[in-house]
């Protein structure tokens, strides 16, 4: 778990008591900064991830915006996994401003928005 994935943050995101703890062990130390999967993908593709509201804590500087180097064929699900936001979480994902499926492949230069569902300020579920 990288230094930004603190216990407090992960517990919030995991919506206790159902979520597994600790979070996915595949998240590597320092992985927030770049390079999904531990491979050298530099130069292949870059995507910009915007982490909104409470998710901003997952970015190194808490400002919620970071650039990731990713391989061709990287999917939305890989990005979610990178931030330990697996399928058990209700996360809204937008790619270039539109709703995205988890199996959707990313394209170079994509903007990815990650948000928790909020109605005003409190978590809400959607039908």
């Amino acid at each position: 778990v990288c230094q930004k994935h603190t216990a407090a943050v992960a517990r919030t995101l995991c919506a206790p008591p159902h979520a597994p703890w600790p979070p996915d062990p595949r998240i590597r130390a320092g992985s927030c900064t770049s390079k999904l999967g531990g491979l050298d993908y530099t130069g292949l593709m870059q995507v910009v991830v915007h982490l909104h509201a409470e998710l901003a804590r997952l970015a190194p500087d808490n400002r919620g915006v970071l650039t990731l180097d990713v391989a061709q064929g990287t999917r939305v699900a890989d990005v979610l996994e990178h931030f330990a936001l697996g399928t058990q979480h209700r996360i809204i994902v937008g790619v270039n401003g539109e709703a995205a499926r988890t199996d959707q492949e990313l394209v170079d230069g994509a903007r990815i928005d990650l948000l928790t569902p909020l109605a005003g300020g409190s978590a809400q579920t959607r039908s």
Binding site: V93, G94, L115, G121
Partner: protein, 613 residues
Amino acid sequence: MTNGYWDRVLHVDLTRSETRVESLGDAFWRRHLGGRSLIGHYLLREVPRNADPLGPDNVLVFACGILTGLPFPGAGRHSVGAKSPLTGAFGESEAGGFWGAELRHAGWDAIVVHGRAAGPVYLWIADGLVEFRGAAHLWGKETGEVEDALRQSHGDRLVRVAQTGIAGEHGVRFALVVNDLNEVAGRTGLGAVMASKNLKAIAVRGTRKLPVADNTPIQQTARWVIDTMEDNHYNFHHFGTGAAMLGKHIEGHLIVRNFQDGQWTPEQVTAIDAKTFAESPYRQKMDGCYACSVRCKKRAKDEAMGVEPRYGGPEYETLGATGTNLQVDDLPILLRINQRLNRVGIDSVSFGATVAWSMECYERGLLTDKDTGGIPLHWGDGATVLKLVDLVAEREGPLGDLLADGALAAARRLGRDSEQYVVHVKGLEVAMHDPRAMRPMLENYPITPTGGDHTGAGRHRTSLRNTVGLCQFLAYDEPRVTELVRGATGWDVTDEELRAVVSRGLSLARLFNLREGLTAADDRLPQRLHDPLLKGPLSDRRLDQAEVQSIVTEYYAEQGWDTTTGAPLLGTLEALEIAEYAEHAPGIVPTGPSPRRVPPAVRGGELGERHEE
């Protein structure tokens, strides 16, 4: 000695300039706990059937809950209620801040305002002292000036003021009651009721400590909120409401162009959301209500624009109603609109929704320059929206006067088939959450006694909080609320007993609405919310009327109401120990056993009965 309440309700007769104190008795308090249920009690008993909401026969109730003013986060809430001049139905709205806590610290649980004063007055309450004071010098003044004047005249900057604004004075039917300048009982037009009684303000100073049976749950809860702030209240604490509006856009249920589109552009949404505000030079700080460490209240400041922190900052509902819904993507002008609304005392939700209706009508050619007095109405024109605040507040010109009655009345006055574009439930403009996408709102809007109100509370959780005086934002689970009530009162209440309390309030509000002429046909959504959204991923979906009907019928059954008419059954009222209210709604209550099993609220009859001092 009571715990958790004073058993003192202040009745104020403005017509006669008289006050009296009512003691309702311990059994009453255990059955009702305050807030919503107390409002239902007084509206049914004190307001004559078909009373003019802006006439002297209406009553205006300021009702604290059993937890209001206790020293833990979320306990700074109070309710305000009356027959609504906007809907003609049960009117209720909740506010935070400090005023409600101050009222309790002055030794009062509620105020019931009757009649109409001969001229403008305000009420001065200092613990047990209650005085009528002339308010001619305050009439026509903005809220900040009024609060300044009252604090100065009483020589105490901690005087807490609840007041109606210029909009209320002009009978704007969605005028609000504002306290502490930026906390509002916003919905259903209660500020117009207050002004119709020539009551400009209620200024309160309290120095008493409310006795509680066991302080432990209160202290533990206060500590728990602080210790778990980053886990449970991160967004509220750091951003306030409206931090992730882009999510609504992505999912396709952002409120845009009078509930037509569902999407705007990502850039425009994020230009006005709470995170952008937090990172902007306009945010002075975050602030809190009484005893609340969450501090979710924005304070905006910009000297060049004249934006003052004391008027707060825009909540999500305001960003939605005057921002996304009107396509105004200019954050500075939204800050000015928000401040202007608080300075003149207008509900931002009804205002934004009514303006949205007018913009759509203008776009469709149903509302012309002749109707508007030459004012063009275009989506995104923030300068005109800002100007409209004052036109509406003072009913100035044909457009200001038209919009000041709310969207439904305006449409009926305009005609031209414009009513189909009013997004309302029971005459109350729908809040900025789309039931086509949000199940909790789909289950709430049709049956909430006040109408299209996202916190108007037809369901248990929200209703309970509006009854005990607890903020909707605090992440308390039901057992914790029960523990807090037990600690405050010393009663061995259970979750189930609190469910019965909630049911009482809902049945009383229902009786009132049916008595005032509402029917099951009013428990519906407007046509606009059954139409597909025009943009985004939900544009291929249609909300069936049958689905809404199914929700409503199931709700009637859950409440022990007739499944066709929604009238509370006599057996239900008996089980809830409120059968005596049936006489205040003659011809409404059908005889029949209740499917409900409700535990007796009070066991053993050891508690006192009501009496009046």
